[in-house]
């Protein structure tokens, strides 16, 4: 902002003072290149950033063309130069265009020509949301690539891409994508308003937007981040809004309901019966991940009468020489698992596997042999932690971890009543969450008889529909 203000006051008819001021402001950064050309007795100035632009393109198609032009052509550069993206700009926008990979020509007028360098790593394959049968392409860090990956799937004029620039220093391009024939206009307006209120120096990743788009009091995620263009496209066709951010390989889908976190893209590429089975497994995994450790603590410390005699004998045999209370042992195991998980994520694949073997097998076995932890506790925490990892959303995994520990503490204090109290609070939390005024438990509350067939079960009818709370245009199509 400071730079722009300076530039505004430099132009006195000719561009000399503007050039001098630009040089003064940018001379410390050696990647900004000023080039002065004398063409037909007229001084032309070129300004670009050599790391953001393709210099071969500048040499071959801009400078080579410029030096052969006469004075008359210089006044009509916008029509003479062989480039599709060439625009006339104002002085205050020079820096912005240069920082976006444009070559700025200052002559009779100020022109910006797109000569972006290819800083893209290309369209790579999906890493975190693997699909067995679906497309393998993933979003990249380049805004246009990401937009293109969606447009390739939805070739409709109804697909709207509104762009905003957020971040005082970063000027990050943020795109709001939606189907204008499906989306609730109020939802788009609300999202736009929230994004416009963001006042921060930089948006480095799409995660930066989460804080303003999500309700701060919610533990559960109310938006989905995905690196899959097919998932984003599906959401758009459902009447949802997708946000893409330049520099981020993850898009944001809004609004997201509780049930959405139990769905994967593979669910829509397979048979209904298989999808239903897997979704029920995910629900069981969710319950195991949250409740198993707390139930174990309550039945082994207060409510023994809830377990059969033989199991009680087995559990007691496993804990004979363990010196710590069961809840301390459980917390210790959860923390150990989280440390292993965290170190595994940060390490490379080869080092990560070594950590898994060392932590999971050797340390686990040694801890049991030393009598520090009981084998049954390792089984309980391992099953519960692995069950949580079934969900692709890291936010949901974090919520599961929170409730697991919360219920564990309650069960240590109140036994099985503590588990009931925790369950009640969990349900209460789910009932009260709103995502842009939509119920988080949709399509269960409010009940949608068509959409319920794509919830914890999946059953396609001849007529395919959308969630009625998201759009009025609920009919997607018919299977003949």
């Amino acid at each position: 902002m400071y730079l722009k203000i300076n530039l505004l006051h430099t132009n006195n008819g000719d561009y000399m003072s503007l050039i001098n001021n630009l040089k003064k402001e940018l001379e410390i950064s050696k990647d900004y290149i000023f080039k002065e050309l004398n063409i037909s007795n007229k001084k032309i100035y070129l300004l670009f950033n050599e790391v953001l632009t393709n210099t071969l393109l500048i040499d071959d198609f801009i400078i080579r063309e410029l030096v052969n032009l006469d004075k008359k052509d210089l006044k009509d550069l916008i029509n003479v130069l062989p480039n599709t993206n060439i625009v006339k700009i104002k002085e205050k926008d020079i820096i912005n265009f240069v920082n976006n990979g444009f070559l700025v020509i200052i002559g009779y007028e100020i022109l910006a020509i797109e000569v972006r360098a290819n800083l893209d790593r290309g369209v790579s394959s999906v890493e975190s949301e693997l699909s067995l049968t679906g497309p393998k392409d993933a979003f990249s860090e380049i805004f246009n690539t990401n937009l293109g990956l969606i447009r390739r799937r939805i070739k409709s004029p109804y697909l709207v891409s509104k762009t905003l620039s957020i971040g005082r220093s970063s000027n990050t391009l943020v795109g709001i994508l939606y189907m204008k024939n499906l989306v609730n206009k109020k939802l788009v307006k609300d999202i736009e308003n929230k994004l416009n209120k963001i006042d921060i120096d930089g948006i480095i990743d799409s995660s930066y937007l989460k804080k303003s788009l999500e309700n701060k009091n919610n533990l559960f995620p109310t938006l989905t981040t995905t690196e899959r263009p097919d998932k984003s496209s599906m959401a758009l066709l459902e009447g949802k809004v997708v946000i893409i951010v330049d520099g981020s390989p993850y898009s944001i889908i809004l609004p997201s309901f509780f049930i959405d976190f139990f769905h994967t893209v593979d669910d829509y590429y397979g048979k209904d019966i298989d999808t239903t089975f897997i979704r029920i497994i995910r629900l069981i995994a969710f319950l195991i991940a949250i409740f198993l450790p707390s139930l174990y603590i309550s039945v082994t410390t207060r409510n023994y009468d809830l377990i059969p005699y033989k199991l009680l004998i087995m559990l007691k045999a496993g804990r004979t020489f363990v010196p710590f209370p069961a809840y301390i042992e459980a917390l210790f195991m959860i923390i150990a698992f989280e440390i292993l998980k965290e170190s595994d994520i940060r390490m490379s694949a080869t080092t990560g596997s070594a950590i898994s073997i060392l932590g999971g097998l050797i340390l686990g076995d040694a801890a049991v042999s030393a009598g520090i932890v009981s084998p049954i506790m390792i089984i309980i925490i391992a099953i519960s932690s692995i069950a949580a990892l079934i969900f692709p959303s890291n936010e949901l995994v974090n919520v599961v971890r929170f409730y697991k520990i919360f219920l564990l503490i309650l069960s240590a204090i109140f036994g099985i009543y503590g588990v009931f109290i925790g369950t009640f609070l969990l349900i209460y939390n789910l009932f009260t969450i709103k995502c842009f005024n939509y119920s988080y438990l949709s399509p269960i509350i409010p009940y949608d008889k068509n959409e319920i067939l794509d919830s914890f079960i999946k059953k396609d009818k001849n007529i395919k529909t959308r969630n009625s709370i998201l759009t009025k245009n609920i009919i997607r199509g018919k299977y003949k």
Binding site: Y304, I313, A317, G318, R319, T320, A326, F414, G415, L425
Partner: protein, 132 residues
């Protein structure tokens, strides 16, 4: 957030009035496998058999420990046994009762258990008596 805290507080308050079993680690739990009650000369001789499962290389090995008390009635005998034991005596997993009494309902009520196997056998009781 305020609402959530109020609800949590109410639930915790309610839980105070509900009977919450005492916190006892499995290590400190004496699982009673069998109970013997011998009635003679207006006195009750109560025997408890604790099962101590120990895990070894071959699987679960079981060891036993016995408790004995003589009292004027079963309830006070149970109280004394509970008082003298370092561990919490857990009767609900009791597999059998041996007694010389004609009726077992009094024993079941006193221990607050429901055991399917009840033996009215003097010989077993005498054997138990000798073990102690």
């Amino acid at each position: 957030m305020k609402k959530k805290l109020i609800i949590l507080f109410i639930l915790l308050f309610i839980s105070i009035f509900i009977h919450i079993p005492k916190y006892v680690e499995l290590n400190n739990l004496a699982i009673i496998d069998g109970i013997g009650v011998y009635y003679k000369d207006n006195s009750y001789y109560i025997y408890l058999k604790e099962i101590i499962p120990i895990k070894d290389q071959l699987g679960i090995n079981k060891e036993y420990k016995y408790y004995y008390v003589k009292s004027k009635d079963i309830e006070s005998g149970i109280k004394e046994l509970n008082k003298n034991s370092k561990k919490k005596l857990y009767y609900k997993s009791c597999n059998y009762i041996v007694t010389n009494m004609n009726t077992s309902s009094k024993i079941l009520n006193s221990f607050n258990i429901s055991t399917k196997k009840i033996y009215h056998n003097k010989k077993v009781l005498n054997k138990l008596k000798k073990t102690n």
